[in-house]
Symmetry: C2
Subunit: 176 residues, 2 copies
């Protein structure tokens, strides 16, 4: 299964910057069987981790996988967005990038205290964005049941940087 | 049904600019029943319009609704993105905004000639983005089966600006 999905991911050299081997998941998303298998896997691992009330996805590829998962699970979806995109009262967590800083925001009324949330993104690289997302959800009162990625770049050891949730709650389908 | 969903949409005054009454759909997305009803409606209207091979969503709220619909229909998903986000060979259509220009891009290999596609976005306002999206899909060989929006701002008459598909293929759930 992992092999079939890996074949639907293509590596684009030097995107978006020289030296980056970009993992392009669009061939997988546009493949009915591949997309369904990916959502099956997310659904399986999240259900195994526990019951969830909501799925949160990180802008913007995390929206695609997260919303499809939420639809599959029959729960609501929370978008975690880049700065300035959400219109109502929001919480923010900043984090470091290779060059400079970035921030994620969510509406403070997106979760109720104790809501069980699965966090979804396409890629676990350095873990900076994912850790910010976990902090944001927890600040707003969420309990994080699972953090699930389609791809994990093992050599970057980003898993170690997700300190807000236990390692056994972090799942990745395809490893490079 | 339309009434129940309308109650889950809130209006935020003066966002992102003074004078804009922003329709915030995040309360609907995070509501399990509301989100499910919205996807049910998309699924119903698209299925009524015809069989589809793929769902295309416009960055980035269109990713949420479009990917959930693709998962529901059991088909693949195509992201239509803002300039510079997609890594492989792509087509581009530019369009006018109130101030200046913008562009949408898609991978040229995202559809095969004759693929039947449903296009999804959250909001039909002036129709500029939607028309660009239709042109882009058609340039790449897609046949557009339906263009579906959660919300249509009737007073902007954006429907008239979607000239690339027949009006009877354009569907909106909630009208303001």
């Amino acid at each position: 299964m992992e092999h079939a999905l890996r074949q639907l991911i293509r590596t684009i050299p030097d995107f978006p910057r020289p030296g980056i081997q970009f993992k392009d998941i669009t061939p997988l998303l546009q493949d009915a069987r591949g997309f369904r298998m990916a959502i099956d896997w997310f659904s399986l691992t999240v259900n195994a981790a526990g019951e969830v009330d909501l799925v949160a996805g990180i802008e913007s590829r995390g929206f695609i996988l997260g919303a499809a998962l939420a639809a599959r699970l029959g729960v609501g979806f929370i978008p975690l967005r880049k700065q300035g995109k959400l219109p109502a009262k929001k919480a923010r967590v900043s984090y470091q990038l290779e060059y400079g800083n970035d921030a994620l925001e969510m509406h403070v009324d997106a979760v109720r205290s104790g809501d069980r949330v699965a966090l979804v993104d396409d890629l676990l690289a350095t873990g900076g964005t994912a850790e910010a997302a976990c902090q944001l959800l927890q600040q707003c009162g969420a309990e994080i049941v699972a953090v699930s990625f389609l791809i994990e770049l093992d050599f970057l050891q980003g898993r170690k940087n997700i300190k807000s949730v236990k390692s056994e709650k972090i799942f990745s389908l395809i490893h490079y």
